[in-house]
């Protein structure tokens, strides 16, 4: 039944940024090349991508990893421009359950510098809660990102989060893990984007991803991709109803099963 549910729901938001998050690193790409995406969900990804936000937008996502509530991730985001080419965004994400959870609240600012370069920075407040008696710990860190519009068809993005050595809690020698990511995207037309990227969380293996976003119709998108992380295949779609965009995607692992995610975005002016 769960599998059927997942199959029926599968989809993705073109502007959706989907995470399988390891909060000890602050950020870790999940489905697809997050760092190369632009739009509202850059609020929880590469902040440089926020420059694509032209109007007030808000959104919500929920991911249920392997259909385990204990591994679920949910989040909300809000973005709006304060000046042409200069948006601000707020994001809130939560991972885990009552015995262990991670919360991230971030505030981002992005700026366009000419035609070629977008930059963004995000200040992150992280909170880890350990069970009923073990208390919690809070940290502050940052994420910086750049997007390069190399040509009309090709763009690239880089992102760095938790760049400084920050101990996870007082008296511990465990550091918050630095995460780096880079991706390149190619768009031969407005209906198609192909992107490839790599990310690296400190002390962990590289993760490679390749995805394709295809828009056969004006209000309907398809996404499919492969990656070398926990969800080697992902696929989904998104569609637009007036000012609302709904996206559904599912990752799939042979042994671990499906990881469905739903994304809901609202723009106070039409997306298209």
């Amino acid at each position: 039944m769960k599998q059927l549910f997942s199959i029926l729901l599968f989809g993705a938001a073109l502007h959706g940024t989907l995470y399988a998050t390891d909060f000890t690193s602050g950020h870790a790409p999940g489905f697809g090349n997050v760092v190369a995406r632009k739009g509202l969900w850059s609020a929880v990804g590469n902040p440089a991508g926020l420059t694509a936000v032209k109007h007030l937008e808000a959104g919500f996502f929920y991911r249920n990893q392997m259909f385990l509530d204990e591994l679920s991730i949910k989040g909300v985001a809000l973005a709006f421009p304060i000046a042409p080419g200069t948006p601000v965004a707020f994001g809130l994400q939560r991972f885990g359950y009552h015995l262990y959870n991670q919360t991230r609240f971030n505030c981002s600012l992005a700026r366009r510098f000419g035609e070629k370069v977008d930059a963004g920075i995000s200040f992150d407040y992280l909170n880890y809660t350990f069970g009923n008696e073990y208390g919690s710990v809070s940290l502050i860190t940052a994420t910086a990102g750049l997007n390069f519009n190399l040509s009309k068809q090709i763009y690239a993005g880089v992102m760095l989060s938790a760049p400084a050595d920050i101990y996870t809690f007082h008296g511990s020698d465990e550091l918050l893990k630095t995460n780096m990511a880079a991706a390149i995207g190619w768009s031969p037309g407005s209906h198609l984007v192909v992107s490839a990227g790599v990310s690296k969380v400190q002390d962990q293996r590289h993760v490679f991803a390749l995805d394709i976003h295809y828009r056969p119709y004006r209000r309907f998108d398809l996404i499919a991709g492969i990656s070398s992380d926990l969800t080697p295949f992902y696929f989904g779609y998104s569609f637009q109803l007036s000012k609302i965009r709904i996206g559904m995607v599912s990752g799939y692992h042979f042994q671990l099963g499906f990881t469905p995610q739903i994304t809901l975005s609202y723009s106070f002016k039409n997306f298209i």
Binding site: Q153, W186, P188, G189, H191, L192, V194, L210, I212, Y214, P216, A224, I226, P232, F233, F235, Y252, F254, Q255
Partner: protein, 685 residues
């Protein structure tokens, strides 16, 4: 629109001469396909000679694109379903093609592809009267006679007299005699006789000269009869999940063209001794419906169980598919089993969709009784088999859906489904899912798969083709699969993944540069398990290849390849390296055609071996697995004695740096050199 086409023809007329001057010739495409098949097949080697036959038959009788219908276009194996549909729609709308250049305006046809098939197709106006009499066909047809002999000069252990007589009963020569008649794809008959090295050539009560005979008579398009074949033939339908006589591998050289191209009934006259049926096959129908029926009764090689009180005399333990009958044991297995196969296929073809239903039944005179172990307990045993399957394909704008679902005699279903999407003129991608249960019984199937049999496998394959410009192409594929039950030598459920990246750079028609990276993760068992309990050995196989092809003048072409293999497992590690240089001398209108190759290889062991296609005589395929440390040289020459007579000579030799013997068992050779000679004569009348 017609005038636009004529304009296009005139505008592109300057490219016509270039069609004959490409580096990626017909042979280059064939080489790529063969390497991909062998590399993906692992231990099961495909019948590449059949592929060579089919390819050369097409080059000798190019397909007329103005006359060929859907079936002919599909059966030739050159075109995808989308291309066929686009071509037929173009013909329907605008009439016949004036030249091949006109294909440029047909969707899904690119200039590079048109060049690669230009020698195999035509738009000419050949005489093809529907009521041509038999006498006229026999008079105007083409007769081809091929004589071939081969020899490994170094003596193998099997030819030595070791006290109880030599093990190989025959001499070291291989012989092939083949005759084929063909009239414009309408009438063909062929006959071939073959003897492998070590096999006996003798006429007696028990031996009838050559070791293997094959032949067929085939006639096409007589009234409602589309094809009638008497003799030897192959059959393949749908995605090959029910029945597929041709070899299907895990992936194609094009990561997006993953749907099987099956030919239905195909007359057979190649030298593979196990990949055909023998009897009669008929295909009928017109317009939307097609009905095929086939009946085959033939003898097969099999390992008989020894007669004893437990197993009895009416059983065999396995099929023998090598086709070799050199030793007493191999001769004893020859024709030991009789197979009766019958079945049919019904197809409905709509404008954009196809449905097909295939069914078969088979019966053996002896029962298969395997040596039962945990891994093969669900595999076929007994005397009878049944299978039924439904295949479909649907083309909607730029999306092509295809698939097949089949059930075996126990009702166990297997399925394969895929989608190919041409998202843009420069981007196409594909996804294919397959599920073959561990207890699915079908020994005639040959669909997309990773292992040697279409059982005990589940996987998802995805492919991506990006052509951002005229000179650059990027091909990617990723396949993840698992085997839910045990396998031979693998004592636990296992899994694996394959990734391939290929970057092509073709700055001009005469130069092509290819970079290829492959990564294969797998799980296997141990040859000699060093552990007390069963364990799985995880393996990682990575390959890096650079290939450069360049036509440096009108007569000379060069090909250079360097390849590096890195193999790792839990208990071993090895590296392999190979580099070769080809020189091709192919002057136009010359009697001579010469190919030279020099190879240097250095691999730590067989796990890091490297495959490469080698030029061979016409109608023959050669794939070498380069392993160990040494060098190899190859000399291949064709001389045209007259317009009707061609002679080929091939000499190849491998020199090993660190060996005193080559091979094992009865194939063992003393010394560090192994060579082979081939001589072939072809007469075309």
């Amino acid at each position: 629109m017609k005038s636009y086409c004529i304009f296009l023809v005139a505008y592109f007329i300057y490219v016509i001469p270039s069609f004959s001057q490409v580096v990626n010739t017909e042979e280059g495409s064939l080489e790529t396909k063969a390497e991909q098949l062998v590399s993906a097949s692992g231990d099961e080697q495909p019948d590449l000679n059949y592929l060579a036959d089919a390819w050369h038959e097409l080059s000798e009788n190019p397909l007329n694109l103005n006359k060929a219908g859907y079936d002919e276009l599909m059966s030739c194996g050159l075109f995808s379903e989308q291309q066929i549909s686009a071509l037929l729609m173009h013909r329907e709308r605008y009439g016949k093609l004036l030249t091949l250049i006109e294909l440029l305006v047909v969707p899904h046809f690119e200039a590079e592809f048109i060049r690669s098939i230009s020698a195999l197709v035509t738009t000419g106006t050949d005489i093809d009267e529907p009521n041509t009499g038999l006498g006229r066909m026999l008079k105007d047809g083409t007769h081809t006679i091929v004589l071939r002999t081969g020899l490994v000069p170094e003596q193998k252990r099997g030819y030595l007299n070791e006290g109880d007589g030599a093990r190989y009963q025959g001499d070291p020569h291989s012989l092939l005699v083949r005759y084929k008649f063909n009239f414009m794809r309408k009438l063909s008959f062929a006959f071939a006789a073959e003897k492998d090295e070590g096999e006996v050539f003798r006429f007696s009560k028990s031996r009838k000269g050559f070791d293997f005979y094959t032949g067929h008579f085939a006639i096409r398009n007589i009234g409602k009869i589309r094809l009638l074949t008497i003799g030897d033939y192959q059959i393949s339908y749908g995605q090959g999940l029910v029945i597929n006589g041709a070899f299907a591998s895990g992936s194609s050289s094009d990561p997006v063209s993953i749907n099987a191209v099956t030919n239905g009934i195909r007359p057979y006259s190649s030298t593979g001794e196990s990949m055909f049926k023998r009897g009669i096959a008929l295909s009928m129908g017109k317009q939307k419906f097609q009905f095929d029926g086939f009946l085959s009764y033939r003898k097969l090689d099999a390992n008989l169980n020894e007669a004893d009180t437990l197993s009895g005399p009416d059983q065999f333990s396995s099929f023998q598919t090598s086709g070799l009958h050199r030793t007493d044991a191999e001769i004893q297995d020859q024709n030991a089993l009789t197979e009766l196969l019958y079945g049919g296929h019904v197809r409905y073809k709509g404008r954009n969709f196809n449905f097909g239903l295939t069914g078969y039944g088979s019966r053996y005179n002896l029962a298969l009784l395997r040596d039962r172990q945990a891994y093969n307990q669900f595999e076929f045993s007994g005397k009878h088999l049944l299978g039924l399957g439904l295949n479909y394909s649907y083309l909607f704008r730029n999306v092509y859906l295809f698939g097949e679902t089949a059930i075996d005699k126990n009702g166990v279903p297997a399925t394969l489904n895929g989608i190919i999407l041409s998202a843009d003129s420069k981007v196409a991608f594909s996804v294919l899912h397959r599920h073959y249960p561990y207890d699915y019984i079908n020994i005639y199937s040959g669909p997309f798969r990773k292992s040697s049999k279409a059982i005990n496998e589940t996987g998802i394959y995805s492919g991506l083709s990006i052509k951002p410009s005229r000179v650059w192409s990027l091909l990617l594929s990723y396949d993840q699969f698992r085997f839910p039950w045990l396998k031979y030598r693998v004592d636990a459920p296992s899994r694996g993944s394959d990734f391939t990246l290929q970057l092509l750079y073709q700055p001009s028609r005469n130069t092509q540069l290819t970079f290829r990276f492959t990564s294969r993760n797998g799980e296997t068992g141990f040859d000699d398990n060093p552990f007390l309990t069963s364990r799985i050995d995880r393996t990682l196989h990575r390959g890096y290849r650079i290939h450069i092809g360049s036509k440096i003048s009108k007569t000379f072409s060069l090909r250079t390849r360097a390849e590096f293999i890195r193999y790792r497992s839990d208990i071993s590690a090895s590296n392999g390296f190979m580099i070769y240089q080809d020189i091709h001398y192919h002057p136009m209108n010359s009697r001579w055609k010469i190919n030279l190759r020099y190879v240097m290889m250095d691999t730590d062991d067989y796990d890091s071996r490297i495959y490469a296609y080698e030029n061979d005589v016409l109608y023959s395929f050669s794939m070498s697995a380069y392993s160990d440390s040494g060098s190899r040289m190859l000399f291949n020459v064709r001389y045209k004695l007259s317009s009707s007579v061609d002679v080929w000579f091939r000499y190849a030799a491998t020199f090993y740096n660190n060996r005193q013997t080559i091979g094992s068992g009865w194939d063992e050779i003393q010394g560090n050199r192994k060579s082979d000679l081939t001589l072939q004569l072809r007469l075309v009348l």
